[in-house]
Symmetry: C2
Subunit: 214 residues, 2 copies
DNA sequence: TAGGATTTGTGCGTATGTATT
DNA sequence: TAATACATACGCACAAATCCT
């Protein structure tokens, strides 16, 4: 693909992925090629390429004569993905941690401000979005691209589970826990210790998984 | 996708992936949509979907007006992929090892026979193909699908490097080492110890990487 | 059971970009 | 520099599959 087509592809891909993960398009939703093509002002062809990628990643399933449906997350799949994400999170501090810069710490500070604000006014969607952005921030601490790609793939594969489960959980407590994770991470990064930051992340993924199953 | 289209997709995808990894289509080769469509008896449309997936996986790069070219493996990328593969290999014995069955051991025995035969009559292509099949066998020992998919993706991403490097290496020694790995693995699986098998695999990936850089 | 409405899959002509002469 | 050849990207029309009446 060349720059122009690639740029549009990325736009549409990230847009649809976000809709799926933020439950704007919950499992079972039909993503109509024609409707989306009209919405984005293209023909079906470029859009089909985006849907094909989402299908390769397990986020949608296209059925001839039926439609392209957002998939549900199988409980066993969720277990497996989380188990692997846990390990990859730990590896982020080991394989090729990047040096912590002032910009890194500055980015984290703004995450902390936003998280504290969120804790004062909790909202499921606000949490989900902030968490997604913070996930991207976490990836930026690792220099190993293969690890980043694999982690990202796994994250988006099951990210929507959290928003699906939050009604059965304690939203305020989740926000508080998130703020605590950020504070702990600040301490780690202040010391330039990416490995510690990775272990903190790993611990919180583990605990988050446990709460999800409660 | 539905069964029929999906089956053809898998056929074409695996065929092209194998051509790339066995250097039937070495880096820089142009994979012409029209030529391949004619060869496989389809139109360009289904074929383009296959090429799109190969592009997503980093095996080819499509450039508007130029063609779809088999990518080269960047040395830094190789390092990163190998580093991650090493860790994932170890995880295979930890996350969800499957019970070792008689069939498992029987499969391994036939790999041993083929490897010993290969050691008597070494051939780069024969080694590469056997290694590819044995890789798939290794995946079958793990129940975690996410781990299997991630490992497979990484393996094929850089698999062609070995055939590109073998002229500068000692083919006979590589075959001998491979036979030894299989023998060690037989001992581990005889005891039903998948974790030991995974560690053996990990060790040999590590050593293989070291020889590759020599 | 049959038929029509709707959806994704396929094939092909055209637009657009690139390299070469 | 311009023109030509040829590649992928795109859009549309039609085929095939599914669902509902």
């Amino acid at each position: 693909m060349t720059t122009e087509a690639a740029a549009r592809f990325q736009r549409l891909y990230q847009e649809l992925r976000e809709r799926i993960c933020l439950l704007d398009a919950p499992p079972g939703t039909r993503l109509s090629e024609e409707a989306l093509a009209a919405e984005f002002g293209t023909s079906r062809t470029p859009l089909r390429r985006v849907l094909a990628r989402l299908e390769d990643e397990g986020l949608v399933e296209s059925r001839h004569g039926v439609g392209t449906l957002v998939t549900d997350v199988d409980p066993e799949e969720l277990r497996e993905v989380y188990a692997l994400r846990l390990e990859l999170a730990g590896l982020a501090g080991v394989l090729s941690p990047l040096p912590v810069t002032d910009e890194t710490r500055s980015d984290l500070e703004s995450f902390i401000l936003r998280a504290e604000d969120l804790a004062r006014h909790p909202s499921p969607r606000g949490f989900a979005r902030l968490n997604m952005e913070y996930f991207a921030f976490g990836l930026s601490l690792t220099g190993n691209r293969a690890l980043r790609e694999a982690s990202e793939r796994l994250y988006f594969r099951t990210a929507r589970i959290w928003l699906q489960s939050i009604p059965r959980m304690d939203l305020a407590a989740e926000c508080e826990t998130f703020v605590e994770e950020l504070h702990q991470t600040r301490t780690a990064l202040a010391a330039g210790d990416v490995q510690a930051a990775a272990l903190i992340r790993r611990a919180h993924i583990s605990m988050s998984m446990a709460r999800l199953y409660a």
